[in-house]
Amino acid sequence: MLIRDILEESEKKYAEIKAVKWLKKKGIYERSYRELMKNVVKVRKGLLAEGFQGKHIALIGTSSVEWIESYLGIITGKNVAVPLDAGLPGEDLIDLINRSDSEALFLSPKNKALLEEVSVGCPKLKKIWMLQEEEPEGSDEKTVSLASLMAVSKNSDADADRPDPEDMATIIFTSGTTGKSKGVMLTQNNLATNVIAVNYTREPGTVMLSVLPIHHAFCLVMDWLKGFSLGATVCINDSLLHMVKNMGLFKPDVMLMVPLMLETIYKRLSAASPLIPKKMVAAKAFGGNLKIIFTGGAHLDPYYIDKFADYGIEVLEGYGMSECSPVISSNLPEDHKAGSIGRPLSNVEIAFEDGEILVKGSSVMKGYYKMPEETAETLRDGWLHTGDKGYLDEDGFLFINGRVKNLIILSNGENISPEEIENKLALGKLVGEVIVTGEDNGLTARIYPDQDVVAAKRMSEEKIHTELQAFLDQYNKNQPSYRQITGLVVRKNPFIRNSTKKIKRQDALIDEALPTT
Protein backbone atom coordinates (compact mmCIF):
# COMPACT_ATOMS: atom_id res chain seq x y z
CA MET A 1 0.00 0.00 0.00
CA LEU A 2 1.12 3.59 -0.71
CA ILE A 3 0.50 6.92 1.01
CA ARG A 4 -0.43 8.11 -2.48
CA ASP A 5 -3.29 5.56 -2.59
CA ILE A 6 -4.64 6.87 0.72
CA LEU A 7 -4.43 10.51 -0.35
CA GLU A 8 -6.03 9.93 -3.75
CA GLU A 9 -8.90 8.10 -2.08
CA SER A 10 -9.39 11.02 0.33
CA GLU A 11 -9.28 13.53 -2.51
CA LYS A 12 -12.13 11.65 -4.18
CA LYS A 13 -14.22 11.22 -1.05
CA TYR A 14 -13.63 14.54 0.72
CA ALA A 15 -12.81 16.96 -2.12
CA GLU A 16 -14.66 19.97 -0.72
CA ILE A 17 -13.95 19.32 2.96
CA LYS A 18 -11.23 21.49 4.53
CA ALA A 19 -8.03 19.51 4.88
CA VAL A 20 -5.90 22.15 6.61
CA LYS A 21 -6.57 25.36 8.54
CA TRP A 22 -3.92 27.73 9.83
CA LEU A 23 -3.45 31.18 11.28
CA LYS A 24 -1.67 34.06 9.62
CA LYS A 25 -1.67 37.56 11.02
CA LYS A 26 -4.69 36.73 13.18
CA GLY A 27 -6.78 35.52 10.22
CA ILE A 28 -7.76 31.88 9.64
CA TYR A 29 -6.81 30.43 6.24
CA GLU A 30 -7.89 27.08 4.83
CA ARG A 31 -7.25 24.55 2.07
CA SER A 32 -9.75 21.91 0.87
CA TYR A 33 -8.69 18.36 0.03
CA ARG A 34 -9.00 19.22 -3.67
CA GLU A 35 -6.78 22.30 -3.33
CA LEU A 36 -4.27 20.50 -1.14
CA MET A 37 -3.86 17.64 -3.58
CA LYS A 38 -3.54 20.03 -6.50
CA ASN A 39 -0.52 21.59 -4.79
CA VAL A 40 0.93 18.20 -3.85
CA VAL A 41 0.82 17.17 -7.51
CA LYS A 42 2.43 20.48 -8.54
CA VAL A 43 5.34 19.87 -6.14
CA ARG A 44 5.68 16.27 -7.32
CA LYS A 45 5.70 17.25 -11.00
CA GLY A 46 8.06 20.13 -10.27
CA LEU A 47 10.55 17.80 -8.60
CA LEU A 48 10.41 15.48 -11.62
CA ALA A 49 10.93 18.38 -14.04
CA GLU A 50 13.94 19.52 -11.99
CA GLY A 51 15.45 16.05 -12.30
CA PHE A 52 14.75 14.78 -8.80
CA GLN A 53 13.81 11.11 -8.93
CA GLY A 54 14.92 8.59 -6.36
CA LYS A 55 16.64 11.43 -4.48
CA HIS A 56 16.71 12.32 -0.81
CA ILE A 57 15.21 15.71 -0.01
CA ALA A 58 15.35 17.35 3.43
CA LEU A 59 12.78 19.65 5.05
CA ILE A 60 13.48 22.18 7.80
CA GLY A 61 10.59 24.06 9.35
CA THR A 62 7.79 23.88 11.87
CA SER A 63 4.28 22.80 10.83
CA SER A 64 2.87 24.71 7.90
CA VAL A 65 0.63 23.96 4.94
CA GLU A 66 3.62 24.50 2.64
CA TRP A 67 5.68 22.01 4.66
CA ILE A 68 3.08 19.23 4.43
CA GLU A 69 2.38 19.86 0.73
CA SER A 70 6.11 19.62 0.02
CA TYR A 71 6.48 16.50 2.14
CA LEU A 72 3.62 14.80 0.32
CA GLY A 73 4.96 16.00 -3.04
CA ILE A 74 8.22 14.23 -2.23
CA ILE A 75 6.84 10.91 -0.99
CA THR A 76 4.02 10.48 -3.51
CA GLY A 77 6.65 10.42 -6.25
CA LYS A 78 9.76 8.30 -6.08
CA ASN A 79 11.76 10.55 -3.78
CA VAL A 80 12.61 10.18 -0.08
CA ALA A 81 11.71 12.90 2.44
CA VAL A 82 14.04 13.71 5.34
CA PRO A 83 12.22 15.88 7.92
CA LEU A 84 14.59 17.62 10.32
CA ASP A 85 14.12 19.41 13.64
CA ALA A 86 14.15 23.14 12.86
CA GLY A 87 15.20 23.85 16.45
CA LEU A 88 18.57 22.14 16.16
CA PRO A 89 21.75 24.21 15.93
CA GLY A 90 23.02 24.81 12.36
CA GLU A 91 26.02 22.50 12.71
CA ASP A 92 23.75 19.57 13.68
CA LEU A 93 21.40 20.23 10.75
CA ILE A 94 24.33 20.33 8.34
CA ASP A 95 25.55 17.01 9.69
CA LEU A 96 22.10 15.42 9.22
CA ILE A 97 21.65 16.80 5.70
CA ASN A 98 25.04 15.39 4.74
CA ARG A 99 24.63 12.06 6.51
CA SER A 100 21.22 11.52 4.87
CA ASP A 101 22.71 12.28 1.40
CA SER A 102 20.06 14.92 0.81
CA GLU A 103 20.41 16.66 -2.55
CA ALA A 104 17.78 19.33 -2.07
CA LEU A 105 16.14 21.17 0.81
CA PHE A 106 12.81 22.78 1.60
CA LEU A 107 13.46 25.55 4.12
CA SER A 108 10.97 27.58 6.13
CA PRO A 109 11.38 31.37 5.84
CA LYS A 110 11.61 31.46 9.65
CA ASN A 111 14.87 29.54 9.33
CA LYS A 112 16.34 31.63 6.52
CA ALA A 113 19.27 32.56 8.77
CA LEU A 114 20.53 29.03 8.05
CA LEU A 115 20.77 29.61 4.30
CA GLU A 116 24.39 30.63 4.04
CA GLU A 117 25.66 28.12 6.61
CA VAL A 118 23.81 25.26 4.92
CA SER A 119 24.91 26.28 1.40
CA VAL A 120 28.54 26.22 2.48
CA GLY A 121 28.31 23.16 4.74
CA CYS A 122 26.25 20.95 2.40
CA PRO A 123 27.96 20.87 -1.01
CA LYS A 124 25.65 18.09 -2.28
CA LEU A 125 22.58 20.36 -2.14
CA LYS A 126 21.60 21.31 -5.67
CA LYS A 127 18.45 23.24 -4.82
CA ILE A 128 16.93 25.03 -1.83
CA TRP A 129 13.25 25.91 -2.00
CA MET A 130 12.05 28.46 0.49
CA LEU A 131 8.56 27.55 1.77
CA GLN A 132 7.00 30.81 0.60
CA GLU A 133 5.19 32.45 -2.32
CA GLU A 134 7.49 35.35 -3.07
CA GLU A 135 11.04 34.98 -4.36
CA PRO A 136 13.58 35.11 -1.52
CA GLU A 137 15.89 38.10 -1.24
CA GLY A 138 19.08 37.60 -3.22
CA SER A 139 17.63 34.49 -4.84
CA ASP A 140 19.80 32.77 -7.41
CA GLU A 141 19.52 29.66 -9.53
CA LYS A 142 19.99 27.46 -6.50
CA THR A 143 17.69 29.17 -4.00
CA VAL A 144 14.14 29.92 -5.11
CA SER A 145 10.61 29.92 -3.73
CA LEU A 146 8.26 26.96 -3.41
CA ALA A 147 5.91 28.85 -5.75
CA SER A 148 8.48 28.75 -8.52
CA LEU A 149 8.98 24.99 -8.07
CA MET A 150 5.22 24.56 -8.40
CA ALA A 151 5.22 26.68 -11.56
CA VAL A 152 7.94 24.65 -13.30
CA SER A 153 5.53 21.96 -14.45
CA LYS A 154 2.62 24.27 -15.24
CA ASN A 155 2.42 23.24 -18.87
CA SER A 156 3.62 19.70 -18.50
CA ASP A 157 1.66 16.47 -18.20
CA ALA A 158 4.68 14.49 -17.08
CA ASP A 159 4.03 13.11 -13.59
CA ALA A 160 6.29 11.00 -11.39
CA ASP A 161 5.72 7.23 -11.39
CA ARG A 162 4.08 5.68 -8.39
CA PRO A 163 6.63 4.36 -5.93
CA ASP A 164 6.71 0.65 -5.05
CA PRO A 165 5.32 -0.28 -1.64
CA GLU A 166 8.76 -1.44 -0.52
CA ASP A 167 10.51 1.77 -1.67
CA MET A 168 11.91 3.95 1.08
CA ALA A 169 9.56 6.92 1.67
CA THR A 170 11.16 8.79 4.51
CA ILE A 171 14.16 8.94 6.84
CA ILE A 172 13.37 10.11 10.36
CA PHE A 173 16.21 10.87 12.76
CA THR A 174 16.07 9.56 16.27
CA SER A 175 18.44 9.73 19.25
CA GLY A 176 21.20 7.16 19.15
CA THR A 177 22.60 5.56 22.27
CA THR A 178 26.15 6.08 21.08
CA GLY A 179 25.69 9.84 20.94
CA LYS A 180 25.02 9.95 17.20
CA SER A 181 21.46 10.21 15.93
CA LYS A 182 20.26 7.46 13.63
CA GLY A 183 18.21 7.81 10.42
CA VAL A 184 15.22 5.46 10.56
CA MET A 185 14.33 4.25 7.05
CA LEU A 186 10.58 3.82 6.59
CA THR A 187 8.97 2.47 3.43
CA GLN A 188 5.71 3.48 1.77
CA ASN A 189 4.12 0.30 3.11
CA ASN A 190 5.49 0.91 6.63
CA LEU A 191 3.73 4.28 6.80
CA ALA A 192 0.53 3.35 4.98
CA THR A 193 -0.12 0.19 7.02
CA ASN A 194 0.44 2.11 10.26
CA VAL A 195 -2.15 4.67 9.20
CA ILE A 196 -4.67 1.93 8.46
CA ALA A 197 -3.90 -0.29 11.46
CA VAL A 198 -4.61 2.41 14.06
CA ASN A 199 -8.24 1.47 14.09
CA TYR A 200 -10.46 4.39 14.90
CA THR A 201 -12.82 6.46 12.79
CA ARG A 202 -14.34 9.90 13.04
CA GLU A 203 -16.81 11.71 10.84
CA PRO A 204 -15.22 13.44 7.82
CA GLY A 205 -14.57 17.07 8.68
CA THR A 206 -13.73 16.22 12.29
CA VAL A 207 -11.37 18.87 13.65
CA MET A 208 -7.88 17.97 14.84
CA LEU A 209 -5.46 20.51 16.27
CA SER A 210 -1.85 19.58 15.63
CA VAL A 211 0.42 20.79 18.44
CA LEU A 212 3.39 18.41 18.22
CA PRO A 213 6.52 18.94 16.11
CA ILE A 214 5.85 17.80 12.54
CA HIS A 215 9.27 16.19 12.08
CA HIS A 216 8.33 13.60 14.71
CA ALA A 217 6.84 10.35 13.45
CA PHE A 218 3.94 10.48 15.94
CA CYS A 219 2.78 13.89 14.70
CA LEU A 220 3.57 13.34 11.04
CA VAL A 221 1.85 9.96 10.76
CA MET A 222 -0.95 10.21 13.33
CA ASP A 223 -1.98 13.87 13.08
CA TRP A 224 -1.36 14.42 9.40
CA LEU A 225 -1.43 11.16 7.46
CA LYS A 226 -4.05 9.49 9.67
CA GLY A 227 -6.04 12.74 9.77
CA PHE A 228 -6.02 12.95 5.97
CA SER A 229 -7.11 9.31 5.68
CA LEU A 230 -10.19 10.14 7.79
CA GLY A 231 -11.08 13.32 5.91
CA ALA A 232 -10.29 15.35 9.03
CA THR A 233 -9.56 19.06 9.09
CA VAL A 234 -6.07 19.38 10.55
CA CYS A 235 -5.53 22.77 12.18
CA ILE A 236 -2.02 24.08 12.81
CA ASN A 237 -1.05 25.42 16.21
CA ASP A 238 1.20 28.37 15.34
CA SER A 239 3.15 28.33 18.59
CA LEU A 240 3.21 26.54 21.92
CA LEU A 241 2.66 29.99 23.42
CA HIS A 242 -0.84 29.89 22.00
CA MET A 243 -1.84 26.25 22.40
CA VAL A 244 -4.60 26.91 24.90
CA LYS A 245 -5.88 29.95 23.01
CA ASN A 246 -5.88 28.03 19.72
CA MET A 247 -7.90 25.22 21.27
CA GLY A 248 -10.56 27.82 21.97
CA LEU A 249 -10.27 29.15 18.43
CA PHE A 250 -10.31 25.93 16.36
CA LYS A 251 -12.48 23.88 18.78
CA PRO A 252 -10.85 20.50 18.10
CA ASP A 253 -12.58 17.18 18.55
CA VAL A 254 -9.38 15.09 18.66
CA MET A 255 -5.84 16.00 19.68
CA LEU A 256 -2.52 14.22 19.96
CA MET A 257 -0.37 15.23 22.90
CA VAL A 258 2.66 14.17 24.82
CA PRO A 259 2.25 13.70 28.59
CA LEU A 260 3.98 17.03 29.31
CA MET A 261 1.09 18.86 27.64
CA LEU A 262 -1.52 17.08 29.71
CA GLU A 263 0.43 18.00 32.84
CA THR A 264 0.58 21.70 31.91
CA ILE A 265 -3.07 21.87 30.88
CA TYR A 266 -4.13 20.12 34.06
CA LYS A 267 -2.23 22.66 36.18
CA ARG A 268 -4.19 25.41 34.47
CA LEU A 269 -7.53 23.61 34.78
CA SER A 270 -7.08 22.90 38.46
CA ALA A 271 -6.19 26.54 39.12
CA ALA A 272 -9.78 27.48 38.18
CA SER A 273 -12.23 28.10 41.02
CA PRO A 274 -13.81 24.86 42.32
CA LEU A 275 -17.17 26.68 42.25
CA ILE A 276 -17.24 26.71 38.45
CA PRO A 277 -18.64 23.46 36.97
CA LYS A 278 -15.89 21.38 35.37
CA LYS A 279 -17.71 21.08 32.03
CA MET A 280 -17.77 24.88 31.83
CA VAL A 281 -14.08 25.17 32.66
CA ALA A 282 -13.36 22.57 29.96
CA ALA A 283 -15.47 24.38 27.38
CA LYS A 284 -13.50 27.55 27.99
CA ALA A 285 -10.12 25.83 28.03
CA PHE A 286 -10.62 23.37 25.15
CA GLY A 287 -13.16 25.05 22.92
CA GLY A 288 -16.03 22.81 24.01
CA ASN A 289 -15.75 19.97 21.47
CA LEU A 290 -12.71 18.06 22.65
CA LYS A 291 -13.54 14.41 23.24
CA ILE A 292 -10.36 12.46 22.68
CA ILE A 293 -6.70 13.04 23.46
CA PHE A 294 -4.30 10.41 22.15
CA THR A 295 -1.06 10.47 24.05
CA GLY A 296 2.26 8.79 23.48
CA GLY A 297 5.99 9.34 23.35
CA ALA A 298 6.48 8.89 27.08
CA HIS A 299 4.68 7.25 29.97
CA LEU A 300 1.59 9.01 31.26
CA ASP A 301 0.69 8.87 34.92
CA PRO A 302 -2.80 7.18 34.91
CA TYR A 303 -3.85 9.84 37.45
CA TYR A 304 -4.44 12.19 34.51
CA ILE A 305 -6.80 9.74 32.78
CA ASP A 306 -9.29 10.05 35.64
CA LYS A 307 -8.73 13.77 36.05
CA PHE A 308 -9.45 14.51 32.38
CA ALA A 309 -12.48 12.19 32.46
CA ASP A 310 -13.96 14.63 35.02
CA TYR A 311 -13.84 17.26 32.26
CA GLY A 312 -15.52 14.91 29.76
CA ILE A 313 -12.32 14.07 27.88
CA GLU A 314 -11.08 10.59 27.15
CA VAL A 315 -7.28 10.24 27.33
CA LEU A 316 -6.04 7.25 25.34
CA GLU A 317 -2.42 6.22 25.76
CA GLY A 318 -0.46 4.48 23.04
CA TYR A 319 3.04 3.25 22.47
CA GLY A 320 5.40 3.49 19.58
CA MET A 321 8.76 4.54 18.24
CA SER A 322 10.00 5.99 14.95
CA GLU A 323 11.35 2.53 14.05
CA CYS A 324 7.73 1.24 13.91
CA SER A 325 6.22 4.08 11.85
CA PRO A 326 5.55 4.79 14.84
CA VAL A 327 2.52 3.16 16.56
CA ILE A 328 2.93 -0.34 18.06
CA SER A 329 -0.10 -0.43 20.34
CA SER A 330 -2.83 1.98 21.33
CA ASN A 331 -5.84 2.30 23.55
CA LEU A 332 -8.88 3.07 21.42
CA PRO A 333 -12.23 4.74 22.19
CA GLU A 334 -14.05 1.38 22.30
CA ASP A 335 -11.22 -0.71 23.67
CA HIS A 336 -9.01 0.57 26.45
CA LYS A 337 -7.51 -0.17 29.87
CA ALA A 338 -6.04 2.55 32.08
CA GLY A 339 -2.34 2.15 32.87
CA SER A 340 -1.79 -0.03 29.78
CA ILE A 341 -0.53 1.17 26.41
CA GLY A 342 -3.36 -0.60 24.62
CA ARG A 343 -3.54 -3.69 22.50
CA PRO A 344 -0.91 -4.26 19.80
CA LEU A 345 -2.09 -3.16 16.34
CA SER A 346 -3.47 -5.81 14.00
CA ASN A 347 -0.35 -5.68 11.80
CA VAL A 348 2.02 -6.19 14.74
CA GLU A 349 3.36 -9.35 16.37
CA ILE A 350 4.79 -9.09 19.86
CA ALA A 351 7.32 -11.34 21.59
CA PHE A 352 9.55 -10.97 24.65
CA GLU A 353 13.21 -11.72 25.24
CA ASP A 354 14.37 -11.43 28.85
CA GLY A 355 11.41 -9.12 29.38
CA GLU A 356 12.30 -6.83 26.43
CA ILE A 357 9.46 -6.13 23.99
CA LEU A 358 10.21 -7.34 20.45
CA VAL A 359 8.10 -6.26 17.49
CA LYS A 360 7.58 -7.73 14.02
CA GLY A 361 5.18 -6.54 11.33
CA SER A 362 4.51 -4.44 8.25
CA SER A 363 5.29 -1.14 10.01
CA VAL A 364 8.77 -2.12 11.20
CA MET A 365 11.55 -0.09 9.55
CA LYS A 366 14.01 -1.32 6.94
CA GLY A 367 16.93 -0.28 9.15
CA TYR A 368 19.07 2.73 10.06
CA TYR A 369 20.45 4.63 7.09
CA LYS A 370 24.08 3.69 6.49
CA MET A 371 24.46 2.24 9.98
CA PRO A 372 24.68 -1.54 9.44
CA GLU A 373 26.01 -2.27 12.92
CA GLU A 374 23.25 -0.39 14.72
CA THR A 375 20.68 -1.98 12.37
CA ALA A 376 21.97 -5.49 13.09
CA GLU A 377 21.87 -4.80 16.79
CA THR A 378 18.26 -3.57 16.72
CA LEU A 379 16.76 -5.83 14.01
CA ARG A 380 17.52 -9.47 14.69
CA ASP A 381 15.82 -12.25 12.68
CA GLY A 382 13.12 -9.80 11.65
CA TRP A 383 12.36 -8.80 15.25
CA LEU A 384 12.83 -5.20 16.32
CA HIS A 385 14.32 -4.89 19.80
CA THR A 386 12.50 -1.93 21.34
CA GLY A 387 14.72 -1.36 24.39
CA ASP A 388 11.60 -1.31 26.57
CA LYS A 389 10.63 -3.98 29.04
CA GLY A 390 7.00 -4.99 29.35
CA TYR A 391 4.35 -7.70 29.40
CA LEU A 392 0.94 -8.59 27.96
CA ASP A 393 -1.88 -9.09 30.47
CA GLU A 394 -4.52 -11.81 30.25
CA ASP A 395 -6.77 -9.56 28.11
CA GLY A 396 -4.02 -8.84 25.59
CA PHE A 397 -3.18 -5.31 26.74
CA LEU A 398 0.47 -4.30 26.69
CA PHE A 399 2.19 -2.78 29.72
CA ILE A 400 5.66 -1.24 30.06
CA ASN A 401 7.73 -1.60 33.20
CA GLY A 402 11.32 -0.60 32.44
CA ARG A 403 14.02 0.21 29.93
CA VAL A 404 17.00 -1.71 28.62
CA LYS A 405 18.79 1.03 26.69
CA ASN A 406 20.48 4.09 28.09
CA LEU A 407 18.13 6.80 26.83
CA ILE A 408 16.40 9.47 28.89
CA ILE A 409 12.74 9.82 27.92
CA LEU A 410 11.23 13.14 28.94
CA SER A 411 7.52 13.62 29.32
CA ASN A 412 7.50 15.75 26.17
CA GLY A 413 8.29 12.53 24.32
CA GLU A 414 11.81 13.54 23.39
CA ASN A 415 14.34 10.76 23.69
CA ILE A 416 17.62 12.17 24.89
CA SER A 417 20.94 10.47 24.48
CA PRO A 418 22.91 11.66 27.53
CA GLU A 419 26.25 10.95 25.85
CA GLU A 420 25.43 13.37 23.05
CA ILE A 421 25.05 16.22 25.54
CA GLU A 422 27.90 15.12 27.80
CA ASN A 423 30.30 15.27 24.85
CA LYS A 424 29.40 18.93 24.39
CA LEU A 425 29.49 19.86 28.06
CA ALA A 426 32.85 18.17 28.52
CA LEU A 427 34.33 20.98 26.40
CA GLY A 428 33.83 23.45 29.29
CA LYS A 429 37.19 24.42 30.83
CA LEU A 430 35.92 23.98 34.37
CA VAL A 431 34.22 20.66 33.59
CA GLY A 432 36.30 17.72 34.76
CA GLU A 433 33.72 14.94 34.51
CA VAL A 434 30.05 15.18 33.60
CA ILE A 435 27.04 12.89 33.56
CA VAL A 436 23.58 13.97 32.41
CA THR A 437 20.58 12.44 34.16
CA GLY A 438 16.83 12.85 33.69
CA GLU A 439 15.24 14.20 36.86
CA ASP A 440 11.99 16.01 37.61
CA ASN A 441 11.06 16.06 33.98
CA GLY A 442 14.21 17.83 32.87
CA LEU A 443 17.90 17.21 32.41
CA THR A 444 20.38 17.62 35.23
CA ALA A 445 24.11 17.95 34.67
CA ARG A 446 26.19 16.41 37.45
CA ILE A 447 29.64 17.90 37.17
CA TYR A 448 32.89 17.20 38.94
CA PRO A 449 34.96 20.35 38.40
CA ASP A 450 38.42 20.15 36.90
CA GLN A 451 40.60 20.31 40.02
CA ASP A 452 43.59 21.85 38.19
CA VAL A 453 41.46 24.83 37.14
CA VAL A 454 39.94 25.15 40.62
CA ALA A 455 43.39 25.14 42.24
CA ALA A 456 44.98 27.49 39.71
CA LYS A 457 42.20 30.07 40.14
CA ARG A 458 41.70 29.38 43.86
CA MET A 459 37.96 29.15 43.29
CA SER A 460 35.44 29.03 46.14
CA GLU A 461 32.48 26.61 46.01
CA GLU A 462 30.16 29.49 45.27
CA LYS A 463 32.36 30.74 42.45
CA ILE A 464 32.52 27.25 40.93
CA HIS A 465 28.73 26.98 41.00
CA THR A 466 28.25 30.43 39.44
CA GLU A 467 30.74 29.76 36.67
CA LEU A 468 29.29 26.35 35.85
CA GLN A 469 25.74 27.77 35.82
CA ALA A 470 26.90 30.54 33.46
CA PHE A 471 28.48 27.89 31.23
CA LEU A 472 25.19 25.91 31.17
CA ASP A 473 23.17 29.07 30.46
CA GLN A 474 25.44 29.70 27.48
CA TYR A 475 25.07 26.09 26.26
CA ASN A 476 21.27 26.26 26.69
CA LYS A 477 20.96 29.33 24.48
CA ASN A 478 21.81 27.35 21.34
CA GLN A 479 19.74 24.30 22.13
CA PRO A 480 16.09 23.40 21.54
CA SER A 481 14.28 23.47 24.90
CA TYR A 482 14.20 19.69 25.28
CA ARG A 483 18.01 19.52 25.18
CA GLN A 484 18.54 22.29 27.71
CA ILE A 485 20.01 21.54 31.12
CA THR A 486 17.66 22.60 33.88
CA GLY A 487 19.49 21.30 36.92
CA LEU A 488 23.09 21.53 38.09
CA VAL A 489 24.74 19.46 40.77
CA VAL A 490 28.38 20.22 41.54
CA ARG A 491 30.09 17.09 42.82
CA LYS A 492 32.64 17.00 45.56
CA ASN A 493 34.10 13.70 44.40
CA PRO A 494 34.86 12.11 41.05
CA PHE A 495 32.34 9.62 39.62
CA ILE A 496 32.68 5.96 40.49
CA ARG A 497 34.28 4.01 37.64
CA ASN A 498 34.23 0.32 36.74
CA SER A 499 37.22 -1.90 36.08
CA THR A 500 37.58 -0.61 32.52
CA LYS A 501 37.66 2.96 33.90
CA LYS A 502 34.23 3.84 32.48
CA ILE A 503 31.95 5.93 34.68
CA LYS A 504 29.28 3.75 36.30
CA ARG A 505 26.21 5.59 35.14
CA GLN A 506 23.86 3.79 37.52
CA ASP A 507 25.92 5.13 40.45
CA ALA A 508 26.03 8.71 39.17
CA LEU A 509 23.87 9.98 42.03
CA ILE A 510 26.28 8.70 44.68
CA ASP A 511 28.82 11.36 45.66
CA GLU A 512 31.18 9.88 48.20
CA ALA A 513 34.95 9.84 48.52
CA LEU A 514 36.44 6.65 47.15
CA PRO A 515 37.85 4.35 49.80
CA THR A 516 41.61 4.56 49.84
CA THR A 517 43.12 1.13 49.41
Binding site: L240, M243, V244, K245, L260, R268, A271, N476
Partner: protein, 79 residues
Protein backbone atom coordinates in the same frame (compact mmCIF):
# COMPACT_ATOMS: atom_id res chain seq x y z
CA UNK B 1 -3.86 45.07 42.04
CA UNK B 2 -0.46 46.17 40.78
CA UNK B 3 0.74 44.94 37.44
CA UNK B 4 3.51 43.04 39.22
CA UNK B 5 1.09 41.22 41.52
CA UNK B 6 -1.17 40.35 38.59
CA UNK B 7 1.92 38.96 36.86
CA UNK B 8 2.91 36.88 39.88
CA UNK B 9 -0.59 35.47 40.23
CA UNK B 10 -0.21 34.04 36.74
CA UNK B 11 3.20 32.61 37.67
CA UNK B 12 1.66 31.00 40.75
CA UNK B 13 -0.83 29.02 38.65
CA UNK B 14 2.04 26.90 37.36
CA UNK B 15 3.88 26.23 40.60
CA UNK B 16 3.26 25.50 44.23
CA UNK B 17 4.61 28.87 45.41
CA UNK B 18 2.20 31.58 46.63
CA UNK B 19 2.27 34.83 44.62
CA UNK B 20 3.55 36.78 47.66
CA UNK B 21 6.49 34.43 48.07
CA UNK B 22 7.66 34.68 44.48
CA UNK B 23 10.75 36.89 44.44
CA UNK B 24 12.23 38.53 41.39
CA UNK B 25 15.52 36.65 41.51
CA UNK B 26 13.81 33.25 41.25
CA UNK B 27 14.56 31.17 38.15
CA UNK B 28 11.52 29.66 36.42
CA UNK B 29 12.99 26.22 35.81
CA UNK B 30 15.28 25.69 38.76
CA UNK B 31 13.45 27.52 41.58
CA UNK B 32 9.81 27.40 40.53
CA UNK B 33 9.84 23.99 38.82
CA UNK B 34 8.36 25.18 35.50
CA UNK B 35 8.53 22.67 32.65
CA UNK B 36 9.40 24.07 29.22
CA UNK B 37 5.73 23.91 28.26
CA UNK B 38 4.57 25.53 31.52
CA UNK B 39 6.86 28.40 30.59
CA UNK B 40 5.47 28.73 27.06
CA UNK B 41 1.89 28.49 28.26
CA UNK B 42 2.61 31.09 30.96
CA UNK B 43 4.04 33.50 28.39
CA UNK B 44 0.98 32.96 26.20
CA UNK B 45 -1.15 34.01 29.14
CA UNK B 46 0.99 37.12 29.63
CA UNK B 47 0.28 38.05 26.01
CA UNK B 48 -3.47 37.80 26.56
CA UNK B 49 -3.58 39.42 29.98
CA UNK B 50 -1.33 42.39 29.21
CA UNK B 51 -2.15 42.65 25.51
CA UNK B 52 1.42 42.31 24.30
CA UNK B 53 3.09 40.25 21.57
CA UNK B 54 6.18 38.18 22.24
CA UNK B 55 8.74 37.03 19.73
CA UNK B 56 9.69 33.40 20.27
CA UNK B 57 13.33 34.16 19.47
CA UNK B 58 13.63 36.54 22.45
CA UNK B 59 12.32 34.06 24.96
CA UNK B 60 15.48 31.97 25.30
CA UNK B 61 17.07 34.91 27.10
CA UNK B 62 14.54 34.80 29.94
CA UNK B 63 15.58 32.78 32.94
CA UNK B 64 14.33 34.70 36.00
CA UNK B 65 11.09 36.29 37.18
CA UNK B 66 12.76 39.72 36.99
CA UNK B 67 13.70 39.20 33.34
CA UNK B 68 10.15 38.18 32.36
CA UNK B 69 8.64 41.03 34.34
CA UNK B 70 11.01 43.54 32.78
CA UNK B 71 10.19 42.25 29.29
CA UNK B 72 6.46 42.42 29.94
CA UNK B 73 6.69 46.00 31.29
CA UNK B 74 8.87 47.10 28.37
CA UNK B 75 6.50 45.65 25.76
CA UNK B 76 3.51 47.10 27.57
CA UNK B 77 5.14 50.55 27.56
CA UNK B 78 5.94 50.26 23.84
CA UNK B 79 2.41 49.11 22.93
Amino acid sequence: MTQEMQFKKIVAQYCKTEPEKITNDMRFREDLGFSSLDFMSFLGELEDTFDIELEEEDLVQILTVAEALEMMERLKAEA
